[in-house]
Symmetry: C2
Subunit: 388 residues, 2 copies
Amino acid sequence: MAKSRVAKARDEANNPSSKVVRFGSDKPLQLAAGVTLSPFQVAYQTYGELNADKSNAILICHALTGDQHVANQHPVTGKPGWWEALVGPGKVIDTDRFFVICSNVIGSCLGSTGPASANEETGQAYGLGLPVITIKDMVRAQAMLVEYLGIERLFSVVGGSMGGMQVLEWAASYPERVNTAVPIATGARHTAQNIAFHEVGRQAVMADPDWRGGAYLKDGRHPGKGLAVARMAAHITYLSEPALHRKFGRNLQDRDQPTFGFDADFQIESYLRHQGITFVDRFDANSYLYLTRAMDYFDLASEHGGLLSRAFKGTKTRFCVVSFTSDWLFPTEESRMVVHALNAAGASVSFVEIETDRGHDAFLLDEPEFHAAIDGFLKAAARNAGLI
Amino acid sequence: MAKSRVAKARDEANNPSSKVVRFGSDKPLQLAAGVTLSPFQVAYQTYGELNADKSNAILICHALTGDQHVANQHPVTGKPGWWEALVGPGKVIDTDRFFVICSNVIGSCLGSTGPASANEETGQAYGLGLPVITIKDMVRAQAMLVEYLGIERLFSVVGGSMGGMQVLEWAASYPERVNTAVPIATGARHTAQNIAFHEVGRQAVMADPDWRGGAYLKDGRHPGKGLAVARMAAHITYLSEPALHRKFGRNLQDRDQPTFGFDADFQIESYLRHQGITFVDRFDANSYLYLTRAMDYFDLASEHGGLLSRAFKGTKTRFCVVSFTSDWLFPTEESRMVVHALNAAGASVSFVEIETDRGHDAFLLDEPEFHAAIDGFLKAAARNAGLI
């Protein structure tokens, strides 16, 4: 019998089909929460070949519900990689030219240590026993992976949304190891409104009786209803009102007249329910709590005495900051704050605002102007670095 | 022992402390869903005195989670009336001069017939047995109340948000009975994004196992966790990002350092949780489903062949349309569509956009420019009508 998606997702959490590097007790992960995580593992995918002087590596950082499967079929859903529009042979992030790495973030559920991973001390899933993870912790684990791969300096670090937070953290924490940085549709801190939406999602998960204080895995349960509600609420914030209007408007499902009931009568309702349902099959509810929390705690300025420009003082990294006009989760204003800080720090920075009605999700979609901007920036940097 | 809020709320649903008019089987309510509701009752409050020629009546229409307690202490929460900033002796809607009426909408839970009301045929609460209610149905019931009060023509119909939808419906359905109309922070249709947020709220309620397919009252239960999540999500949409930033920012609760946990660490989290918790004590979960659905189905143009201006053809009603700059639930663009339709219909219309960062909720708050605009409009109309 074919395995269910849920069963596949649980396998991937502990026995991923990706490559894995395991750091033992000699290499604990120092967490911002003041404790260490040890042992821990990082699951990752690579594409292309590392060149002889190890100067062509690009690290891609994934978003909240993303994973390391950037440009290959997803092991649980069977869908194409989440960034195949941008990454692959001959594409903007050209795997014929670059060695592309993407690791599952710590706290997630696709093979890197997270709340669904077995705690060796108990033999049970960590659940809420895992310490809270921050963006800095994710990046520290990635830095250990990059070191393990023998790469001293990354040609580029690229990512959108939560991935963009990691890009900024990389540039701030390891400036000498980052040649270029491309933070997309992101910000240097999570705003009050964004924290609010995340809190709604967490409360939806925690309100589900199947959540059981986070200990659902040992009972073979999953708070799917709560997680679906969380996903539905979040999904609205990834889109835009104009795009929703254009795509769905007030159209009814396969009929002319409303049913005057509580079934999904409008197309937008059916679409949202589908988003909720398909998400819970592939994602761990506790990971959703941990990763939303990591984003909430992100505030790069506060790590540097409250002054964002200090995070980038003396940096030699070249930046390309990208925002989208209809993104109301990370509006252009948040990117502009990053750009101002980089300017104040004397950094080399390009800033591109892409006109689109597709909202925050635009960074995942086929947006020609966006792709052209990344292409131009990377090509110029590659020429500069003697890679082309 | 003092009654709990929940017990008080349940009393109010069937035995309200407000005045009540009961319409028997000779006066059924024709519903848009194609069925009738009979018998049914409307609970209402009045303030001030009706003058001799019955020309000084103002009907106030309440919003989704509002009620008839505009300017008196709330029977369940003990709080002041929800629009005391605007309504009362000597205030903008001056109860020394006007006879102010506000009725609980059909489908709500403060004494007008709704899902928590006892169905006489079964002796049990209607629950989901109540037909779906629309904005037009609410207005039809209000029109029956106004007729019962012996008032042929209202000096004004005023309301914000869902109340504003009722104002527009009043003006379209009973133009000869509406002297002036003041739709505030509203639109002539619910947008796809707004339907989406409502659907998230409904799914949160329905995901709560205590909802029991809507039949929770007979088991003495209430899907409070789901309803709290719904309220939290909705509450974000009533505010604005700048106001949240100004009020809460990333401030932590009574401490300098984060706890790195899942308790309410940020002030915004604590505030939102409080909004959720206090709401469930005073509001019926099924009513929340019915009233959000009524808003979703509202599309005044579609009732008039798809052309909004037709809804107001030949109207003699004078309109004052109000929007708020930071309202992203009913942005100014939605009001502007109403104004354009009114202009196309040759109606008399003033349009005021109020500059504020307080979002949709601004209509409930002490906003001097907003109050001045309503004051000016009503005074001019009262002079015109010989009332002052």
